[in-house]
Every structure is written in structure tokens, then in C-alpha cells.
């Protein structure tokens, strides 16, 4: 049985709702309509009274979820698009993120962010905000790249006693498929070697994993074996797995879709050079989106974000160094 990335997310929510009465879903249009992307399709019928439509009030949506969470519930909040979490920003970074540290009372909730670029979505329906949320103490930030991770990491996230920012990539929702769901998986906090290699390490996550794997295929044709690490979680970030790979290859490229200043790629490079400077045979490199808002037109968008093509170019420069 084949299942998509989006269906895996829905199945994880169905599991969570089945396993724990404390779980409920909250978001705009997620009830009988099933959500803008149909992530919650049918769940309102299957779990009456536990899948609630929210008004267009992201700040109050998060505040409500936080109040429920510190009072024993385990809410899963859907932002219609990651970009709109800017309205919930204060409740996420100042209320949810600080709550356990300040009071000792846990705040277990999951904020689902439909993230990343898709053709024609433009500046306000395409953002990748994992770097913003990871900067704030008290948040766990997950970026699943595979159907199996989307499923198992969301299920695991709901069980954690901390606020989790769950960055789902819209580009993968319908196109990415797998035959079935994993019964076990790596725990949150562990990265995965998505492809083994010896000439260079390519660290990436979310939709960029698939562009990166294509780029690795291209380089294989030139005889270069690229090791691809899928971070899965950007906070915590599995430095050990990354360092172990760099120890094998001596070369590092970090690829992400978010804006270039700071963020995941800078964090990964900083960790590698501070702890594993001696492992590097060449300057580590990074590739992110361009430093402009995300363009609407496919011509521009295709150049704004990294692609298998531009990643291959970077890899060639790196292995040729």
C-alpha cells in the first residue's frame, strides 16, 4: 500500500488521537473541511469534538493551545501556512518556549507548519522558518524529509513534554510516496545517513534532501561518492553524526532552503569547524536560498532556491578543491 507524506501526517494524527484522550487538533478550516491541504480529512468525523475550527487568530490559537497544554492536554495546532505563524510568534517564543523553564510545568504541544516553497506560491506562502524558531531556547524544531519520518516524528513529537515546531514541507505533501509506514524509526535528535559516500559530506534536511540526492546521483556519474546526511531535526541537531561523516570524507557542504543569513547551514558549519576543524581537507561550504523574499514566478523561484543543479555545481567545486 502506497502512502504519501501528507497521508503519513494524517495517519500520525489519527494514531495520536486514538492513543491519547489528551490530544486534540486546532486550526483554521481543519474540521469537516479537513484543512487547506486536507491533512485532517475525515478526522473531525472520526473524533467528534476533538478537531476544532479556529477563527483567524493565530496569537489566540497558540495562547489557547498553551493554556490547554499546561493544563494536561496535548494540542496539535495547524497553521494554515508556516508564514502565518508570524502572528503566533510571540506566544510561541515567549510563552510556550519559556514555560517549563520558568514554572516547572511542561507545555506539551505541536505546531504544524506547512513550510517551504512550491511553484507560484510567492513571498507569503513559501517560507521556511526553522532557523527562526531554533534560535529560541525551549523549542524543539523538526524537519522531516521522508514519509516515514513525517509519520514517526509527528507521533513522537506529540508524546514529548515540550513545545515542538513541526516543519512539514508542502512540496512533499502529495508527490512523495512510500510503500507503508515504519513500525520503528530513529528517535528525534538523531540524523540519518541517507546515502553513503566518501568524497564529501552533504548535510541537508526537508525537501532539500531530495534535491541533494539527485545531485549526488549526478556526481556519482563523475565517480564522486557523496555522503548525504538528513538532519531530520534541526534542534536538537545531531552534531556527532555530522562530525563522523566529515571524519570519513574531509569535505562539507550544507544545503538548506531558508534564507542565507544565519540559520541551519551556519549552525552546522560552526559546529563542525569548532569541534572538527582538523577533520576538514577543504573549506566547508553552504548553499541556501537567495537573500530576497521568495519570488512568485516559477522562473525566479527556480533560481531563488537551491536545486539539484546548483547543488551539483557546489559539490563539484568542493570535491575539486
Amino acid at each position: 500500500m502506497s502512502i504519501t507524506y501528507l497521508e503519513a501526517i494524517r495517519e500520525a494524527m489519527r494514531q495520536a488521537l486514538t492513543q491519547d484522550d489528551a490530544v486534540f487538533l486546532y486550526g483554521q478550516d481543519i474540521g469537516s473541511f479537513g484543512g487547506a491541504f486536507k491533512a485532517t480529512k475525515n478526522l473531525a468525523n472520526e473524533f467528534p469534538g476533538r478537531v476544532l475550527d479556529a477563527p483567524i487568530s493565530e496569537d489566540a490559537m497558540l495562547g489557547m493551545a498553551i493554556g490547554a497544554a499546561i493544563d494536561g492536554m496535548r494540542p496539535i495546532v495547524e497553521m494554515q501556512f508556516a508564514d502565518f505563524s508570524s502572528i503566533a510568534f510571540n506566544q510561541i517564543v515567549n510563552q510556550a518556549a519559556t514555560h517549563f523553564w520558568r514554572t516547572g510545568v511542561p507545555c506539551p504541544l505541536v505546531v504544524r507548519l506547512p513550510s517551504g516553497g512550491t511553484s507560484g506560491s510567492g513571498p507569503f506562502h513559501s517560507q521556511s522558518l526553522e532557523s527562526i524558531y531554533a534560535h529560541f531556547p525551549g523549542l524543539i524544531v523538526l524537519t522531516p524529509a521522508t514519509v516515514g519520518d513525517a509519520y514517526s516524528m509527528l507521533l513522537e513529537a506529540v508524546k514529548l513534554n515540550d513545545p515542538v515546531i513541526f516543519c512539514e514541507h508542502k512540496f512533499l505533501y502529495y508527490h512523495l510516496k512510500a510503500d507503508g509506514l515504519p513500525t520503528e524509526n530513529l528517535p528525534i535528535g538523531k540524523a540519518r545517513i541517507a546515502r553513503h559516500g566518501k568524497h564529501a559530506t552533504l548535510v541537508t534536511y526537508s525537501a532539500m534532501l531530495h534535491e541533494s540526492l539527485r545531485a549526488a546521483d549526478e556526481l556519482a556519474q563523475d565517480g564522486y561518492e557523496i555522503e548525504v546526511v538528513d538532519l531530520r531535526s534541526v534542534k536538537p541537531l545531531d552534531t556527532d553524526t555530522v562530525l563522523a561523516s566529515v571524519a570519513r570524507t574531509g569535505r562539507l557542504l550544507v544545503v538548506g532552503e531558508s534564507f542565507p543569513w544565519g540559520g541551519v547551514s551556519a549552525e552546522v558549519i560552526s559546529r563542525v569547524v569548532t569541534d572538527g576543524f582538523h577533520l576538514l581537507d577543504a573549506p566547508p561550504q553552504r548553499l541556501n536560498s537567495k537573500d530576497t523574499p521568495i519570488p512568485y514566478h516559477p522562473n525566479l523561484w527556480g533560481t531563488h532556491r537551491p536545486t539539484a543543479n546548483t547543488i551539483s555545481q557546489e559539490l563539484r567545486r568542493l570535491v575539486g578543491f
Binding site: S32, I56, S57, G120, P123, H125, H297
Partner: protein, 356 residues
Amino acid sequence: MRLVKATVARSLARPITKMTSTIANSPSGTDLDERFAQGFKWMLLSRTLEEKISSLYGAGKIVGGVYLGKGQEAFSTALAMSLQRGKDVFAPLIRDQAGRMAFGEDMIDTLRTYLGSVLGPMRGRDGNIHRGRPDRGMPAMISHLGAMISVVCGMLMARRFRGLTDVVGASSIGDGGTSTGAFHEALNLAAVEKLPLVVAVANNQFAYSTPNDRQFACRDLVEKAAGYGIAGHSVDGLDLAACLEVFGQAVAQARNGGGPQLVVGSMLRLCGHGEHDDASYVPAELKASAQDCLKRAREQMLARNLATPQQLEVMEAEAYEVVQATVIQVQNEPTPNPAQETWTPLASSWLMEGIA
């Protein structure tokens, strides 16, 4: 504050009375007739254009979302026609194709933005309804609902600082948009500064799939006016003449120092939230009983002897032709070339740095 109080009092006196116009209660029959006929033209042109955009989308010629104003043209047109082009400010939202045209936006701006022509105001950087010409009094909406109202407040403050006192600024919002904190903060700020702001709330009974009863709990959104100490007006959004009358009053009051005006119109969206959406969530009986403001206006054009059936058919044919011609022109225009993009978001381009 006296003026505001007075109008508030009025709005409290009849919080939910809907204005329905007759030639009788209009200031001047002929004047209203001219404006009605003009309004009908904008509504017709907008509907014709949007039907074309819808079919272009269906044919895969448009990338990204398509959001139409079908069923809301009367309300949108009347708001824009009550403003003065080249002087006032209008911040349209996603269902304001008709109002945009009535305010002076060229049809070609719409098509260039939807089709990604590099010659359009957004140059392919942004698309569909995310367009505007701030230097012509029409800011370009961002997606985040409610965010444009305070921007209009700022444009009015700028004009006040420059000594221009009789400028009016208008902003559209939907029933769902009234739930945003941005809506609240902006209306309150406007009330404190007593700005000549008109906020038009198009209550089309749904926010995407969410019905009013999951969005707010007051009887009528106009009841919010008193809480801000501003004037409130209600109108039947399907009745072009009534809309022209109420917006005419609201804009005049704002221009004459009456402070912010909240105008709530009732209607039903006659299309999906976007063209990807079949509006399955709208109950069948509601769909069945739904009226079309354009159809109504067309009937009134005849009833008011503002046009003969033949003249209407000519108008419709002309609208179709100008839309077709513009589409063909735009389809032959260049799309953006990434190699020619400057890739700099800064006006101070010398401060740009090439990081990736």
C-alpha cells in the same frame, strides 16, 4: 470627539437595520443614476475579466492561486467609486477586482500580475491579488489578513503631516479578517487619531470554509463600531444603489472630520475561496437561494431605464473584447529572466552582500 459620538449614537440606534435604496431616499435621482450606471459597468468588466482569469487558470495558464470576487462586485465597486482617484487611498483585498478597477487600477495590471509579465507592477516577484501601486494610493496587500489597515492609517498620517486634511483612506476586510489582532489594533489606532479611515467589511458568511458562527459571536459585525467609538453602517451588499449611498455617506463623514467609519455589507461569495475550491461547505439551500448582485444591477439598469437590452448586450460584448485583447497582449509579454534579476531587496543596493 463630538462628531464621532454623534455618529456612534446613530450606529447604536440602528445597529442592524439594512439600507435598501429606492429612488426616493437617494439624494438626487439622476446623479445616483449616473453613478449606478457607471458602477454597473465596473461590475460587468470585473466579472468578465474574472471569468477569463478563471478559465486561464483552468487551462493551466496561471501558476499559483486565483481568488475571485464573484458576488461581491457591488460592495467593492461602491466603496471605490466613493473615493477620489489620484487623491484618496484604497487598500483592496482578495475580492476587490471590481473596486480596484473603479479606483483606477488598469486591467492590464491584473493580467500582468496573474500571468507573471515582467512589465507588470510586481514584475513576476509577486502574483495574483498581491499587487498594487502604493505611489498611486493603492498599497500592495501582503497575505496576512488585517495587516493592511494600519498601513492605510500610516498613509493618512503622512498626508496629515503634510497638511492634506481632506484625504480619505479605505481598506477592505472579510468577516474572517475581523478576528485578527491586526484589525483591532488598527481600528483602535485610527479611532484614537480620529483618522479619515473607512473600513469595509464584506461579510460573505464564510472565511474559506469557516461559517460566521465559528468566527464571531456578535449579532452583526457592525456592533464592533461602538467598541472603538467610531461610526457604524450596515448595507445589503447585493444592492449596488444602497452600497453607493452608504459608502457615499461614510466617505463624506470621514472626509468631514467624522473619524473612522465601519461599513459592513452582507453577501455570499459565489465562487470557491480560490478557484481550486468547489465551496462544498456552503449548504445547498444557501447556494440555491443565493442572489447575484450583477444580475440584480443588470435588471435595475433596465428598470431604471438606464439602458436597453440591446445596449446591455453591446456593453457585455465590449467588455468581453477588451478582456480578450488585453489577455492576448499580456500573453506575448516577457516573463522574468532570473539572469537579469538584481536579487537585492534593499533600496540601498550598495549595502547588499552576496551571501548564499
